[in-house]
């Protein structure tokens, strides 16, 4: 049995008196593509943000290769579990290329040439090579998200955390971003994807986690979750979503 990359162990997160996450536990193994689904406010994004340490957990443990992330060097850990945001969060003052270089230079201390080549390699992968000298404000939402994915990939992370990567996009741009993520899933990269795209979740994931009210209701293969969910709440959610 291989040691999981990330193990979330009885994670609790409160905002003031509001319990957002109540006792969340699951494991992420190397190569896993896990989709996290559930309605807004179910705690999906908060959980992802806790894993990236953007939110401080209230209780429980998050283990990275068996070690509590509290004891790890924050910058080093984050560069291995990078996040892709709903709002892209590209650095507005930098070109597309620079966006993909800066993290490698500052955090991984790679030399200029190596960082540039790595950035170009991944920008090509996401089809953004022609736009390397553009500034983020000159790009469409779908293009920005593809750059954000290249920026994350350039760090050579062990796991990428996607926080609703297509929720801020116009419908016609969702496809281009999903196809990039789909091709990454095929390449063996470990990914956690919070998403509202059910077809996508069913097609690319090895596992689907359904969250509701701050707890994991069901954690199973996409076949089970979408085919014959065991829990009535999962069934209810999917019926509501898929009938739209």
């Amino acid at each position: 049995m291989m040691e999981p990359i990330i193990k979330v162990d009885h994670l609790v997160k409160n905002f003031g008196k509001n319990e957002i996450l109540k006792d969340i536990s699951f494991e992420v193994n190397k190569g896993d593509v896990i989709s996290i689904i559930g309605s807004s406010g179910s705690g999906k994004s908060t959980m992802l943000r806790c894993i990236n340490m953007l939110e401080e957990k209230t209780a429980g443990e998050i283990l990275f290769h068996g070690k509590s992330i509290d004891g790890l060097k924050r910058s080093e850990y984050r560069s291995k579990a990078v996040m892709v945001f709903q709002q892209f969060n590209l650095f507005e003052n930098m070109t597309v290329l620079k966006n993909c270089v800066i993290g490698q230079r500052e955090v991984l201390k790679r030399d200029k040439e190596e960082a540039k080549n790595k950035a170009l390699h991944y920008l090509e992968k996401v089809g953004m090579l022609p736009y390397i000298n553009a500034k983020p404000k000159q790009l469409s939402g779908g293009q920005k998200q593809r750059v954000a994915i290249a920026r994350a990939l350039a760090m050579d992370p062990e796991v990428i955390l996607f926080d609703e990567p297509t929720s801020a996009l116009d419908p016609e741009m969702v496809g281009e971003v999903l196809s990039v993520i789909r091709s990454l899933a095929g390449s063996g990269l470990t990914m956690l994807i919070v998403t509202h795209e059910m077809t996508f979740a069913r097609d690319v994931s090895d596992r689907v986690i359904f969250m509701d009210g701050g707890v994991i209701v069901e954690d199973d293969t996409p076949d089970v979750i979408f085919g014959s969910p065991k829990m009535p709440r999962t069934r209810e959610f999917l019926t509501r979503i898929l009938s739209q």
Partner: protein, 253 residues
């Protein structure tokens, strides 16, 4: 009659007045740049995330308190009084030794401007989208890297109009430094007035010079702001459909 006596004063005192212009601009320019530096450093210090360690958190609060006190005191008192207090305060403490005048002037204008720009920078940092901080943090960049590489460059562009404004204010306000005897524009205009008994004419000259300085600087800075906004367009290199198309990497580091 009026123009004749203005011409006379100019012929006699024009050289020293222009020397005063040099000092005025020197003090205002260096003072504003140093003030900006103080403001940016304070901005970076004030936004450091609160530590979990109790002792470090106490030190952080203490430093933040000192910065706030600095801002409030220097914004809440006239620069003229600050000049007297600092210059003669040093003389008092050192037993009569006074500091050289021009560096004293630069020092006084710097810390005074620093107090104002600290607040301008604070507003500038607040106006930057939280996503910029999170984007940097998520890649593993620390606070200093995030601030110097991502946030401050964006803040700089946003606050430039306010900082330009501080510079223009400083050109005018260096005139108060004459109370400690700094030989700037006002000082020479005043001595020309005293020596020639033509007070109105002498200060008419000073007034015109101040206006020409501030007006041309304002226009110049407006131009710089426009240049900093950058081009609206960009060049596409290569092609998404034709892999043979050439890719050029613009070296901008």
């Amino acid at each position: 009659m009026f123009f004749e006596s203005v011409a006379n004063i100019w012929n006699k005192y024009g050289g020293s007045i222009m020397g005063g212009v040099g000092n005025t601009m020197l003090i205002a320019l260096i003072g504003t740049v140093m003030g900006l530096l103080i403001g940016l450093i304070n901005g970076i210090i004030r936004t450091v995330p609160k530590s979990k360690n109790g002792f470090i958190r106490f030190i952080q609060s203490l430093i933040n308190f000192i910065i706030t006190a600095y801002v409030e005191i220097f914004r809440g008192t006239p620069m003229m009084v600050q000049a007297m207090l600092i210059f003669w305060g040093y003389a008092f403490a050192s037993g009569g030794v006074t500091l050289p005048l021009i560096p004293s002037g630069i020092f006084i204008v710097s810390i005074n401007t620093g107090a104002y720009i600290t607040e301008i920078v604070r507003g500038g940092i607040i106006s930057i989208d939280r996503g910029q901080f999170e984007g940097a943090a998520s890649l593993g960049m620390n606070h200093f890297q995030t601030m110097t590489r991502v946030v401050i460059p964006q803040v700089m562009r946003n606050i430039l109009p306010s900082v330009s404004n501080e510079f223009v204010i400083n050109i005018k306000d260096t005139s108060v430094l004459n109370v400690i005897g700094v030989t700037e524009l006002y000082y020479y205009a005043n001595s020309a007035a005293k020596q020639s008994y033509k007070t109105f004419e002498a200060f008419a000259i000073a007034c015109v010079i101040y206006f020409v300085l501030t007006f041309s600087i304002t226009r110049l800075l407006r131009l710089v702001e426009r240049l900093l906004e950058g081009k609206k367009n960009y060049t596409i290199f290569g092609s998404q459909t034709d892999p043979a198309a050439e890719i050029h990497v613009k070296e901008d580091e």
